[in-house]
């Protein structure tokens, strides 16, 4: 319904990309909990194409770039808001700009591939729309394909550690339990500051999988009991490392130290051409704690008034994602099949070269 509304509104608007509220459109799509960020981004672009009135191909392409920038700016803002408790959030934000970036890159590449064949703008637009529908269909089936691939790694009596809430990880676990009738136990980390892990616990319990929540700080303690670790990913970078909710990196380090396999589960449209050199080399807002720029109240004060705003303050000054280098990941389970981390760059090169 919201989409239709947008269509009507935008149809009457002029070609000015500023009047097409890309950010609002993006947020509308993100309301759908089942939609992943790159797909939402892709959809915003298709909405924009539908109502774009740019007179020439060049101008059309320019406005597309602007829409991309708007979406990225919106996601930057989101990444900050995501850390607040659910009750105080204004909308359903997303934690990572990286997934948005993957979507924007993918769409740009998609457009670039197709512009060469058409000189007429209307033809180009019609072609883009027709093709993007097919692509979106394919993208929606990605999670099901991962479930089939990923559940092979779950064996009977396995104990699995899962970090926070990830839709792909959940689909793998549910497929293994409900379709393949495997019996296994799951530990889920709480996933501070949003405590999304608790959502995962209640969902898993609802589907009859024995599971328990553990504190993020108890990962080292519990890992001896664990056979394998599953983590989702916001983005998979060029060297095969992943960017995921804060805490993934330390879990990977502990898992490596204890010799437990750690599998990153991600859809291939989350692969992004980015080569982070360290934790701070990510396209997101640098958290205040890195620069010590946030002058908070003195610590004695903080102890006295450990109220809600205080903990919000803490969440806001901390990062929402971290980067896990490829040497700590055992394998990547994707809709393209099982990949070793070094296989990722191969796929990216195939797509972007």
């Amino acid at each position: 319904m919201a989409t239709a509304e947008l269509n009507n509104k935008s149809a009457s608007d002029s070609m000015d990309p500023k009047l097409f509220d890309a950010a609002a459109c993006y947020h509308t799509f993100l309301e759908d909990q089942e939609l992943s960020t790159p797909v939402a981004t892709f959809k915003v672009f298709t909405e924009f194409i539908k109502c774009s009135q740019a007179p020439t191909v060049t101008e059309f392409l320019q406005t597309l770039t602007q829409v991309g920038d708007t979406i990225q700016a919106a996601s930057m803002y989101d990444a900050k808001e995501w850390k607040l408790p659910t009750s105080t959030r204004k909308r359903n934000p997303h934690k990572a700009t990286i997934a948005t970036l993957a979507g924007i890159h993918l769409f740009n590449q998609f457009v670039r591939r197709n512009t060469g064949d058409f000189t007429e703008l209307e033809e180009l637009k019609a072609n883009l729309l027709a093709r993007s529908t097919l692509i979106l269909q394919k993208a929606t089936s990605a999670r099901d394909r991962i479930a089939v691939t990923g559940s092979q790694f779950v064996h009977d009596n396995a104990v699995i550690l899962v970090h926070s809430y990830s839709r792909t990880v959940m689909s793998v676990l549910q497929y293994a339990a409900n379709v393949e009738n495997k019996r296994f136990k799951v530990y889920v980390t709480e996933g501070r500051p949003t405590s999304d892990g608790l959502t995962a616990v209640s969902e898993l319990q609802a589907s009859g999988i024995p599971c328990a929540a553990v504190l993020d700080s108890a990962v080292g303690f519990i890992l001896d009991k664990v056979d394998m670790v599953f983590v989702g990913a916001e983005g998979v970078v060029e060297n095969g490392g992943i960017i995921n909710q804060i805490g993934t990196y330390q879990i990977a380090l502990v898992a490596k130290a204890l010799g437990k396999p750690i599998y990153a589960i991600a859809e291939s449209y989350k692969f992004v051409r980015l080569y982070p050199l360290n934790q701070y080399d990510l396209p997101s807002i640098t958290p205040d704690i890195v620069t010590f720029s946030n002058r908070r109240k003195s610590s004695s004060n903080a102890l006295e008034q450990a109220d809600e705003s205080q903990s919000n303050d803490l969440a806001l000054s901390n990062p929402s994602v971290d980067y896990t280098p490829p040497q700590y990941l055992t394998l990547l389970l994707t809709d393209l099949g099982v990949l070793t981390p070094s296989g990722v760059s191969d796929e990216l090169i195939k797509l972007y070269l």
Binding site: L331, G337, S342, L353
Partner: protein
């Protein structure tokens, strides 16, 4: 759909021998599988390739189920399926070459290949180095590089076609001899040349006066070392590989060709490792992540080598490469009779203890430095590429 009576009984015979482990070892198994599949292609009635793919997949599933530990069976089935798909694609390409204007190059391998031969030929050169010159395939020349669609490619995210678009049901009458010829040349003839292909690289890896350690009996490793011994003098230490004592047999055959050979007990592996320059292992199967299933004791050798930072070389033919992953470390292992560990004559003791006699070891990819295969060499992190080149992703699960 159905196999002929004679063929069916041959298949049954093969299956029961697989089950009883009367036929063991990747080479024998691979060869017999290839021959049976060739017969299926030639004697089964099929009017279009989709039927053939179906028949082969069905039979492949039966053979794999008979002995899941012999991964070579599944590998050969997948290779045959890939050949059929290649042939079908090649045929279709020539049929509608006139009206298909686009040629999408989605195959990663063909991109980094310099020569402008069409990719069927490339494929051939990957699999059979020696048959290249003798290749008189009656295939019409394809003026344009055929479209190779791999669902395994991220590229396909942006392509609105599926690999299912390939019409396997297209009728084609000269496909049968072509497929049979390809199986003959690329698989069966290839099996004959693997040992030579690997042994030819021996001089690159083994230098004068080196001390080499190996374990178990592997014809690949034996040929590899023998070839090197023709030019260089070096010393080989063989672990005896209890309880099968394959290592002793290996040592005997190495000594026969004049290599200075020492046999040690398995328990001395770690102690001797400090003197070793290089470890050469054979493999039963290589899994998609670069880990290998090898004779029991290999893990111990590899771990000791890691401890001493001694390079570990694995000699393996390409048909041992499996697209499966070690979902569970024990999945591809098998425990055989404990007779050789603790004889049944020791009746009083045998009641009181559990005796395990695993036949294979799983060696993690971190412990391996290099795979020497029949067409070159690759580090474990590159194995996935070799697998993508050799098999079709559709066939990973038979």
């Amino acid at each position: 759909m159905v196999l002929s009576k004679a063929l069916e009984s041959q298949v049954e015979d093969f299956i029961s021998r697989l089950k009883r482990r009367q036929i063991v070892g990747s080479y024998e198994v691979a060869k017999e599988t290839a021959i049976i599949l060739r017969q299926v292609v030639s004697t089964t009635r099929w009017s279009d390739a989709s039927v053939l793919v179906h028949v082969i997949t069905d039979l492949g599933r039966r053979l794999v189920a008979a002995q899941p530990k012999e991964l070579a069976v599944g590998n050969i089935v997948r290779r045959v399926l890939k050949i059929i798909r290649e042939v079908v694609r090649g045929e279709l390409e020539t049929d509608d070459i006139m009206n298909s204007g686009t040629s999408e190059d989605s195959d990663g391998f063909s991109q980094d290949s310099e020569d402008d031969a069409d990719s069927d030929r490339e494929f051939k050169s990957i699999l059979a180095q020696d048959t290249e010159d003798t290749d008189h395939t009656p295939r019409p020349e394809i003026p344009q590089r055929p479209k190779l669609q791999t669902e395994s490619s991220m590229f396909n995210l942006l392509v609105d076609k599926n690999s299912e678009d390939i019409d396997y049901s297209a009728k084609s009458y000269n496909m049968k001899p072509l497929i049979i010829q390809e199986i003959n040349e690329e698989i069966i003839a290839d099996l004959e040349t693997v040992y030579k292909g690997i042994a030819d690289q021996a001089l690159e890896h083994i230098h004068a006066n080196e001390v080499i350690m190996t374990i178990g009996y592997s014809r690949t490793v034996k040929d590899f070392l023998t070839k090197a011994a023709a030019k260089r003098s070096f010393q080989v230490i063989v672990a005896e590989t209890s309880p099968t004592l394959q290592g002793q047999a290996m040592a005997a055959s190495l000594a026969e060709v004049g290599i200075e050979t020492t046999v040690i007990t398995d328990s001395a592996i770690h102690a001797v490792m400090s003197r070793v320059n290089k470890v050469v292992l054979g493999a039963h199967a290589v899994l998609a992540n670069g880990g290998l299933v090898a004779v029991t004791g290999s893990q111990m050798v590899a771990a000791a080598a890691k401890h001493h930072t001694t390079p570990v070389l694995v000699c393996t033919a390409l048909y041992k490469l499996s697209p499966l992953f070690p979902y569970d470390v024990d999945l591809f292992n098998v425990c055989v009779t404990p007779e050789h560990v603790l004889s049944f004559n020791e009746g009083t003791l045998i009641d009181k203890v559990n005796v395990l006699n695993p036949y294979y070891d799983f060696v993690a990819p971190e412990l391996v430095n290099l795979f020497v295969h029949n067409l070159g060499s690759a580090p474990p992190s590159y194995v996935y590429r070799l697998i993508n080149d050799n098999y079709d992703l559709e066939d990973t699960t038979l």
